[in-house]
């Protein structure tokens, strides 16, 4: 009798354990699917700054292949390094910005942002004249611009010299380059989003899903640290279009601006327009009291 009970109990335990293991296996299925898209090279890839030139070459061609495979687009991904004696700065004339958001749209296209979410590194706030209080601003205005009694304030990464986002990153996946641009190694970021919590300017964006872009809309001129298509689950941000600006071009947002409100250039070049603005206009930075030392300046013309 006692033996029968023991046997029955054991049988119940075995059945229970089998059911449990099966349920667990079924629950884990999506992870298996996800892992199939991970290459070993990607998983074991070292930090950008530790890659040898050969390794980096291999990474770039792997990323190009992956883009072709996943998006059906032939792209070139380069590693574009900072130019010597260069320190970039950006200024924006609030008196003439009309809030048309063409900068945000240009950013969206240039930087291969996810189409569905209409992501952009630039957020344009419609502000009430007479106040610089951001809480009184509105990022969701939907009417002809410029509206009376309003002014417009585009905000993007300020490439701070004392950047809170860099300090908080637990794995050094984000850092400042010699030309002042704060970059992210999308293949090193662990997606903890601490930098997003630390940034006082809402400059960082997280890839909550795999970005989706039709092949014919993909900008094929890409670089590793800027506009290549980002993986799911990592942080991204404005890089002053380093793939353009490090080659003497202007940022996409500046080129798109119809009013000429944006001024970009090398702060170390005394003859640059940005230097002229900083020396002759009454410029200010956002939230100066936080001590973040932005490289992005605002000014009023009149």
């Amino acid at each position: 009798m006692a033996e029968a009970t023991t046997t029955r109990r054991r049988a119940l335990k075995v059945i229970g354990a089998t059911l449990g293991a099966t349920a667990f296996g079924a629950a884990a299925a999506p992870i298996k699917h996800w892992a199939e898209n991970l290459s070993l090279g990607e998983v074991l890839q070292k930090h950008y700054q530790e890659l040898t030139p050969e390794q980096l070459k291999g990474v770039l061609s792997r990323l190009e292949e992956e883009t072709l495979h996943r998006y059906g687009a032939n792209v070139t991904i380069e590693d574009i390094r900072p130019e010597p004696d260069t320190s970039f700065g950006y200024a924006l004339n609030l008196s003439i910005c009309i809030g048309c958001r063409r900068c945000a749209e240009a950013c969206h296209k240039e930087n291969n942002h996810d189409r569905a979410t209409n992501n952009s590194y630039i957020r344009v706030l419609e502000m009430q004249k007479g106040s610089l209080d951001l809480e009184k601003g509105n990022a969701h205005y939907d009417h002809p611009v410029p509206a009376p009694d309003k002014f417009y304030m585009p905000v993007q990464c300020h490439q701070c010299d004392n950047a809170p986002c860099i300090k908080v990153c637990p794995v050094q996946a984000t850092w400042k380059e010699s030309d002042g641009i704060v970059v992210v190694d999308y293949n090193w970021c662990i997606g903890c989003r601490y930098c997003e919590a630390a940034c006082p300017y809402h400059a960082r964006r997280f890839n909550w899903k795999v970005p989706e872009i039709p092949a014919n809309e993909i900008n094929p001129h890409q670089s590793y640290l800027s506009n290549r298509i980002r993986p799911q689950g990592v942080m991204e941000k404005c890089t002053f279009c380093l793939h353009r600006t490090r080659r003497g071009q202007l940022p996409a947002c500046l080129e798109a601006c119809p009013t000429g409100a944006r001024v970009f250039g090398n702060l170390l070049d005394p003859s640059s327009e940005i230097r002229w603005v900083l020396e002759h206009k009454r410029v200010f930075v956002l939230k100066e009291e936080l001590g973040t030392k932005p490289r992005f300046f605002y000014f009023f013309d009149v």
Binding site: G16, G20, A23, F24, A26, A27, A28, A29, P30, I31, H33, W34, A35, L38, V43, H47, L125, L134, E135, K136, G137, A139, V155, P164, K167, V168, C169, P170, V171, Q172, A173, W188, C189, I190, G191, C192, R193, Y194, E196, A197, A198, C199, P200, Y201, H202, R204, F206, N207, W208, K209, V210, P231, Q232, G233, V234, M235, K287, L290, G291, T292
Partner: protein, 417 residues
């Protein structure tokens, strides 16, 4: 197979000890599976919840975190809220240790093991919540010192990794050693564990201080950027720890038949009598500073307490928390029996859970740094994962206590053939 063949507890050699330790662990493991129908029912329920949570997590890993309610505005939510609370629970668990060792209360000595097992389970909970919050769990190794790129000492998160894992190791060592000595039927050598007990007391304060520093060091988030945050965290940790342990001791007493008298419970009650009002006082102090001053520093708090225009998602949460905290304060100070005390503990536990989560992590993001009010209401997936992690923590806790019980009672000793 129980015990050893030819050694006695007093003549064990080092080599034998090395062999015995894995056997001891194996015995503990086997023991944790033995129990009555109620035990099996409890474990089956927890396992089922954990599996549901794991399924939801697998889904999140595959789909991306878009299936959460998190956004670029509110980028941390339920997971980090629970993580923060869990660190408090782990730190508060040493409230058993302080009276026992600092004030040499011998009746508390045996029970400290229970506090330490709770600390271990709570740290496991924290680590799970950090992992489920990561966008790239496959890159966890990037955070490992020497192998990855550990941004120490600049990033507060790296400090948190160190103190949490350190705390886990200290508690594993003390618990493991004390249980093992009981198993061998030997008197524990105070030199081997007492220094670590004292270390764990200081360390417990450090884990919650560092966790507070994660938030309070961010200049761009005025709601968190307050020097009072770390003291508030410590204060509320010493609510959740004792509150949980009071209930746990009674459950253990009833379910496992361990001899535990009411004295430790009374000691913990007197701790709650201080910490619950102190925590409320600190909250009121924050409230006054923000609301009386007004301006930007009050925006998040007034949104939390009263809402902003039509947006009031957090208002019911925080008022519930305050009501629970105030109710528990009244209860622990009135002459109520164990049942009343248990009610106070549940109220205090839930009250602090809300206050630290929906009442502290979420409003840190609302309004956003550009002044936008984007609300956050967790999705079902997030609740599932959260429930799953809690179930896992309770599983670990149950197994730990179950495993420790015969050792505490001396049933499972190496000397017995």
């Amino acid at each position: 197979m129980k015990g050893t063949r030819d050694v006695t507890g007093t003549t064990l050699k080092k080599k034998d000890l090395a062999l015995l330790y894995p056997r001891f662990l194996w015995q503990l493991f086997l023991n944790s599976f033995r129990g009555g129908p109620l035990f099996y029912l409890w474990m089956t329920c927890l396992t089922a919840i954990a599996v549901v949570g794991f399924g939801a997590y697998a889904h999140q890993v595959n789909e991306g975190m878009r299936i959460t309610a998190l956004t670029d505005h509110v980028s941390w939510g339920l997971y980090i809220a629970n993580f923060t609370f869990g660190v408090g629970l782990a730190a508060g668990a040493v409230m058993m240790v302080i009276p026992a060792y600092l004030y040499d209360d011998h009746e508390m000595h045996d029970l400290t093991i229970i506090g330490e097992i709770l600390a271990i389970a709570a740290i496991a909970l924290c680590l799970c919540f950090v992992i489920v919050d990561m966008g790239r769990p496959d890159r966890l190794w990037h955070m490992m010192p020497f192998i990855g790129r550990f941004n120490w000492p600049i990033s507060m998160l790296t400090w948190d990794v160190i103190v949490l894992n350190g705390y886990l190791l200290i508690n594993l060592h003390v618990t493991g050693y004390l249980l093992y000595m009981r198993y061998l039927g030997r008197k524990p050598n105070p030199k081997v564990y007492v220094p670590f007990v004292f270390l764990s007391i200081g360390w417990a304060i450090s884990i919650h201080t560092v966790t507070a520093f994660l938030y309070q060091g961010l200049g761009g988030r005025p709601f968190w950027n307050s020097a009072l945050l770390a003291p508030r965290f410590i204060g509320s940790a010493f609510i959740t720890g004792p509150a949980f342990v009071i209930v746990l001791l009674q459950v253990i007493r009833r379910a496992l038949g361990l001899q535990i008298n009411d004295r430790p419970i009374e000691t913990l009650r007197s701790i709650l009598r201080i910490t619950i009002p102190v925590n409320l006082f600190m909250f009121c102090s924050e409230l006054f500073t923000a609301l009386y001053t007004g301006g930007h520093h009050s925006a998040a708090l007034s949104y939390l307490m009263f809402g902003h225009e039509e947006k009031t998602a957090l208002v019911p949460w925080i008022w519930t928390a305050l009501a629970f905290n105030a109710g528990s304060a009244l209860l622990v100070h009135s002459k109520v029996g164990l049942r009343g005390l248990n009610a106070a503990c549940v109220l205090a536990f839930v009250g602090v859970w809300i206050e630290k989560g929906m009442g502290l992590i979420i409003p840190g993001f609302i309004p956003s740094t550009l002044g936008e009010f984007v609300e956050y209401i967790p999705t079902l997936t997030e609740w599932r994962i959260t429930a799953g992690v809690w179930a896992l923590c309770l599983l670990l806790l149950t197994l730990g206590i179950k495993a420790a019980r015969p050792v505490l009672e001396g049933e499972l000793a190496a000397r017995r053939g």
